[in-house]
Amino acid sequence: MTTQDLGANIPTRSTQAGWAEQAVAEAEREGPHIGREHLSREQQVMERIDRARARKARVKEPRITLSHGAGGKATHNLIDAIFLEAFRNPELEQLSDAASVQVGSGSNQVRLAFTTDSYVVSPLFFPGGDIGELAVNGTVNDLAMAGARPLVISAGFILEEGFPTDDLRRVVASMAAAAKAAGVQIVTGDTKVVQRGKGDGCYINTAGIGVRERPVELNAANAAPGDVILVSGPIGDHGITVMLARGELDISADIVSDTAPLHELTAALLDAAPATRMLRDATRGGVATILNEVAAASKTAIVVDEESVPVRPEVRGASELLGIDPLYVACEGRLVAVVPPEQADAALAALHGHPLGDGAAVIGRVVADPPGLVLLKTTFGGTRIVDMLVGDPLPRIC
């Protein structure tokens, strides 16, 4: 069964993988576990892994790959090692959906929220929405998750030579409708056209400003043991809808994107549960990514009960066929809230009181140990870890 058995036929030319040898050498330099001999070997390994995970982010790849845009570990590394490293400041370091900006002082002080997001979804039109609606709702939601009331947004277009004008009209009309529905105005903008083949029809960037009228402090680091995790409705509709709309899979299902402006929902939630620790809309990377961010920022563990996570049967079925976990699939109109236990009932009632939250559910809770970890109690009755996503199951979903 080994090389020797086969005689002279085996290719003898061989080389080494330089990158792998280097990675091994680096890991070996970290040295043995002095002073940790009392731990079992498995525990020592786990500690070593913890240290490896806590290492400073680095981008080793010589070129950007699609994983850098997937919202998982590679995206986090890219942001930490390249953007944060260059732009570092206390506001940016929080890596929240929207930055907090204060204008004026004393009683004249106004607290603003400021955010930006780009949209490259393919296809541009999909059941339940299109890139224009997404571009408005996405930015409205980033402001809403900061506890702000959206005021104004900008719209930047990168159009490809040859893009049908009628399609642009459609996109712009749905942006106008979405802005009206969300009570925001599009007050500034920009247009660029690139040569045919240098863009994919139409990309949109939006930025938004909102005003933080509530005295709430939302920060993933505030999550504490005992807190309750809520989602505002069935997860994964948007990601699966867009995936199926590409027509590459010959699967069809009766689902539409969940894209929606969530500012009214967050307002109702924060009125009912002002001690809410954190809000996030579950876009790229899905609910699992958000929960990992919360666990990492607050140094707590999160235990999710798979059975209580709302997922439509169509989404479950399609995910099962595609071999992906709905917990990682993007939504565009669902939020995750972390709420202290005493306000959990009020928060859930507030979500249920709004049409966009009528499918809301408690899906898990925060515990103390093991810090930084998201655990899932499976429907089958077992347990497993839900880690940050690696690789990209569904590129260009928003």
Binding site: M1, S14, A20, M46, R384, G391
Partner: protein, 375 residues
């Protein structure tokens, strides 16, 4: 979801779990190998080990199609992808597998045209749409996926699509199991047989395992209750002193396999004299190549393939993990140099790989997980 939920019923699992515990002889340790990566994935995804007594351990075998591809072979594929006018197509799992000089993803970022497909037929579609390009399908997998590759070659031949070829890396399961059985440092009590492969080859080819090597094998389905039941059936054989091949997955697996699928494989492919397996080394008669008759669809004949072996780093112990000699965490580089983001060994790349499954789904000691999830 019908036909799925029935096989994930926690109540039935509890009953099975109790029966499994009853069958274990006190003081005896049991080691069963699940050969197929699909089983490894199910075990971790559903947290199935929580239902097994501590004396029963599952060893993750070599049946992950991505994990067994050696780095040199991937370099060959990338060399093909970098030839002029080539569109390389691949299953998504393969995209992140690192070769000696990077992965398909890296090569794509550097300018090659490498596309993810869900089926070889999608690749054929790309060939039809791009008559001026040479479209290559990176064919990987055991007997499970070989029939669909074979069908695609036949269809390409029927349509005269001469710009379509496959880079054939199909492997066969029996020589891999033999390599494991011959490994001196292994102690196993039985096998959980690969259900999907068996839909094609049937159960008969495993009979030598029971007859000559004295190890029972139960061919198993892919839902968590399937695997629990298979563990139960293996323990029952041991308790009753039997040593047989049994078919737990009879709802899908015919005892004699699928003659039609075997016929199309035989029509288009033949055994290679030898093939390198990651971690297991060169194994004779263990992989398939395209027959001469379909040479026009064989990338290895069309392109010049470098064929340079890439040695695994010494610290990488994929081979021991694949053979079940080491638990994933016992490998020297597990979780430090080798992580799902920067996998050194292929066991860390595919979600079916033993290391990636362990890293993602079971990284923390069971005691802490149990404590945290106690209601």
């Amino acid at each position: 979801m019908r036909f799925v939920d029935e096989f994930r019923d926690a109540e039935k699992a509890r009953v099975l779990s109790a029966r499994i515990a009853e069958l274990c002889e006190p003081g005896r340790q049991y080691k069963f190998m699940e050969v197929c990566g699909g089983h490894t994935h199910t075990i971790y995804k559903h947290g199935l080990e929580d239902y097994l007594p501590e004396t029963v351990s599952l060893v993750h075998g070599p049946g992950c199609p991505v994990c067994v591809i050696p780095m040199g072979r991937l370099d060959d594929a990338i060399a093909i992808a970098e030839e002029p006018d080539v569109i390389m197509t691949s299953f998504g799992d393969m995209m992140r597998v690192p070769g000696g000089r990077g992965s398909f993803f890296d090569s794509n970022a550097a300018g090659a045209d490498i596309r993810m497909v869900y089926s070889p037929l999608d690749s054929l579609k790309i060939a039809r749409q791009n008559p001026d390009k040479r479209v290559v399908f990176m064919a990987i997998g055991f007997e499970t996926t070989a029939p669909s590759t074979a069908m695609t070659v036949l269809r390409a031949a029927a349509e005269g699509l001469e710009n379509f070829s496959i880079f054939c890396n199909h492997v066969t399961i029996i020589p891999a199991i033999k390599a494991i059985l011959d490994s001196p440092d292994l102690r196993l009590d039985g096998f959980i047989g690969p259900g999907h492969v068996s839909t094609v080859i049937g159960c008969r080819p495993y009979e030598f395992i029971a007859r000559e090597h004295g190890k029972p094998l139960v061919c198993a389905g892919f839902e968590p209750l399937d695997i629990l039941q298979s563990v139960y059936m293996l323990l029952l054989q041991l308790r009753e002193g039997r040593c047989e091949v049994e078919n737990q997955y009879a709802r899908v697996v015919p005892w004699d396999g699928n003659p039609k699928a075997l016929r199309v494989i035989g029509e288009t492919m033949e055994l290679r004299p030898y093939f390198e397996w990651r971690g297991l080394g060169f194994i004779s008669q263990s992989a398939l190549q395209v027959r001469e008759k379909y040479a026009v669809h064989d990338a290895e004949r069309i392109f010049s393939v470098p064929g340079v072996r890439v040695a695994d780093p010494k610290a990488c112990q994929c081979g021991e993990v694949l053979k079940g000699v080491l638990k994933p965490w016992e490998c020297k580089v597990f979780g430090t140099a080798c992580t799902p983001e920067t996998p050194i060994g292929t066991c860390m790349v595919s979600s079916e790989g033993a290391c990636a499954a362990y890293y993602n789904f079971g990284r923390f000691t069971r005691e802490r997980v149990k404590e945290a999830t106690r209601a």
